[in-house]
Amino acid sequence: MSATPDDTKDNAEEHAFRLRAREWLRTHLPPRRLQDEPMMDWADKALIARDRESQRALWEGGLAGITLPREYGGLGLDRRYADIYYEEAQPYRLPWHFGNAFNIVLPTLLAHGSEELKRRYVPAILRGEHLWCQLLSEPSGGSDLAGLTTRAELRGDHWLLNGSKVWTTGGLDCDMGICLARTDPTVPKHAGLTMFLVDMTSPGLAINPIKLISGTVDFCQEFFDDVAVPADHVLGEVGGGWAVASTQLGAEKASMARGWYEGLAAAVESDEIELKDEYGRMARSLGVHEDPRARQLIGEAFVLDAVHTLTTRRVSAGIRNGALPPTAGTLSSLLVALCDVRRSALLSGISGPAGVAAKPGEEGLQWGMTRVTRHRIGGGTTEMQRNGVAERHLGLPRDEADIADRTVPFNRRKVNPDRAQ
């Protein structure tokens, strides 16, 4: 996987940290099962349990929250130590089911949380006690996030939440959720939202898994029936939920750009292009490797892979060093989605009839219909990404209907007349 970490730039303290991390990781963390080990698999309960144990062990071993402030349980070290840790952690399975908690919830909590919430929930993540999910999308709509209808009403010392959330990654297994709900329907849609921290074991909260076309059950739908949330479990201001959600979505995008969880991203240092064996193996196993039509598609697949990797890398480097504006991130997310869509078509094209009808036990069907949901819809539809590129990066004007929808009080916006109450 990765070469021996480069420790020549370490100073004495860094080097001591490196050696301690190296030895600790070797004796405490499980090796990666596969080179391309899935970071998260919410159907694999044993893996989830093992990740909880690993995170707990990291805490006990003094390797959790390397760059986080000491008052919240972190080590308070600078970025360089985290890099050293991730370099040394390359051969091991890191507790990736905590990815949402670390990548998305933690930065959001630190940016918007009250002192009390930070002191309570940040260390709980570091100790491996809380897996977190995001309760954002709703059955009534995912793209128009600010148009959500789950409502929260203040009743004395607690809020009561009613409504439904959907597309929650790992909802059944998470301990806590960060939940956006409407607290004031009389103001324009973005202004009436508030972010809550919700205990996923609360009474009145029903969680149902959703089985996808692929057969996987990573997502859930939740139903809130008078779910009580303590009044102090508001993240940011009441009515200030959109700002919190923006931090949260920004953190999600940023983590996706750096390879979701840093332990994986660090593996790709070189910018050299490698042609994957995968397509050749596939073509040979299907017997189409000499077919000129298949070779055209394979050639294009090589191009797509390189576009995907190099653009993501160049854009994030460009944003970091100021050569590109932060909005350029929208370009690489859209491009990744476009590449993914095209790659699915190429794979089914290369496999041809073998992708739709295979002899029992033989390869083929896995290529006929790949990743149908992944990038066109998940993590923001390509349409939303296109709006992002056009409006935020290219500076094109917003659509008039969109402007109207953003400025009218939520309870007076246009709705489907057949559904109006």
Partner: protein, 365 residues
């Protein structure tokens, strides 16, 4: 800095209106204009300091790609690509005499070169399959046709890559050598002159050989890689400028009481174009670096860039024309020059299909 200086020069001395003047007057770019451009030091990254260049301090392919991209933005009608390849090849593999006589003249734009290698046909552009060579004693005879040779109608000097049973050999000879016929072609790209160059029993002596006889396969590949980097960088510049003025246009043009750029039907297409264009920039940056460093992925990187840039330039600029509506279809609008170059660049130096096949072979498939 190099980018700014090049842009300033080209916008002042060779904006797209200059190309239009040449086209209207039905005249090729005059020699003096190329000499002035070359005088900017465009070929210096390939020429050693001892001969007036700056190869030692410059980053050959990387710097040249920056210049080429700027040329794309104005659809420059000059002879940058072939002369860069010749300067590079002579500096790398030339004898002392070849270097001393030819490099300063090329760098000053006093001599102009063209590179002959590819046979005609749909697969043309990436292999030295156009010219055969026969050696007997000290005499060498060339036969065959090199197709679509860029700038050949304007060239004084030809670099010929030919093959025989011993392998690949390169030669440098005056375009006026007996037996060479340069047949200019009608070109879709109005800013570029191409020709088929026929070699009819062209007889030369061994001192015309560049490098060693039969040992130039790798030299050919390196030249091809450099040419592809420059070609793709130019294509990126073409897209860059076309997208720029199309974005301006859709914000200024109103229909149904609002700028047409506020309609999602256009916005979404422009977003896709911007994303693919960013992809092209990333690929060209990698290709230039890989070629300059002679990295292991250089051959792969240039083919990937060529496939992507070729395909998307055409797609994007065709759609930019569409977004201009009626005015985009008229002779008076400059977008035609951009589209013409984009379509030409997709087809020449190996179409995307040719490079897809090349990638399969490079992958051992």
């Amino acid at each position: 800095m190099l980018q700014d200086a090049t842009r300033r020069y080209l916008e002042a001395r060779a904006p797209v209106t200059y190309l239009r003047q040449l086209v209207e007057a039905q005249t090729p770019m005059p020699d003096i204009a190329w000499r002035e451009g070359a005088g900017q030091g465009w070929l210096a990254p390939f020429v050693p300091e001892s001969l007036g260049g700056m190869a030692e301090s410059a980053q050959g392919a990387i710097d040249a790609a920056i210049v080429a991209e700027e040329m794309g933005r104005v659809v420059y009608p000059g002879h940058y690509l072939p002369n860069s390849v010749l300067a590079f090849a002579i500096a790398q593999w030339g004898s002392q005499a070849q270097r001393e006589t030819l490099l300063p003249a090329l760098a000053a734009g006093e001599q102009r070169g063209a590179w002959c290698f590819a046979a005609p046909g749909v697969d043309s552009g990436t292999a030295p399959d156009g010219v055969r060579l026969e050696r007997s004693g000290g005499q060498i005879t060339l036969r065959g046709v090199a197709a679509n040779v860029q700038s050949a109608p304007d060239a004084d000097l030809l670099l010929v890559t030919a093959t025989d049973g011993e392998g690949v050999t390169q030669l440098l000879l005056p375009a006026a050598t007996a037996g060479i016929e340069v047949r200019a072609l009608d070109t879709l790209d109005l800013g570029r002159r191409l020709a088929d160059v026929e070699f009819r029993d062209v007889s030369v002596t061994a001192d015309a050989v560049l490098g060693a006889h039969g040992a130039a396969a790798d030299c050919f590949e390196q030249q091809l890689q450099l040419a592809l980097v420059l070609h793709c960088a130019e294509t990126v510049g073409v897209i860059d400028r076309a997208l720029e003025f199309t974005l301006d246009y859709v914000q200024q043009r109103y229909a149904f009481g609002r700028p047409i750029g506020s309609f999602q039907a256009l916005k979404h297409r422009l977003a896709d174009h911007a994303a693919q264009h960013e992809g092209g920039k990333a690929l060209v940056a990698r290709a230039a670096k890989a070629v300059q460093e002679q990295a292991a992925d250089a051959a792969v990187a240039v083919s990937i860039a060529k496939s992507h840039c070729g395909r998307w330039a055409t797609e994007i600029i065709r759609d930019c024309l569409h977004m201009h509506g009626g005015i985009g279809m008229t002779w008076e609008h400059d977008i035609q020059f951009y589209l013409r170059r984009a379509v030409s660049n997709e087809a020449l130096w190996g179409s995307p299909a040719v490079h897809h096949e090349r990638l399969c072979r490079l992958a051992g498939l």
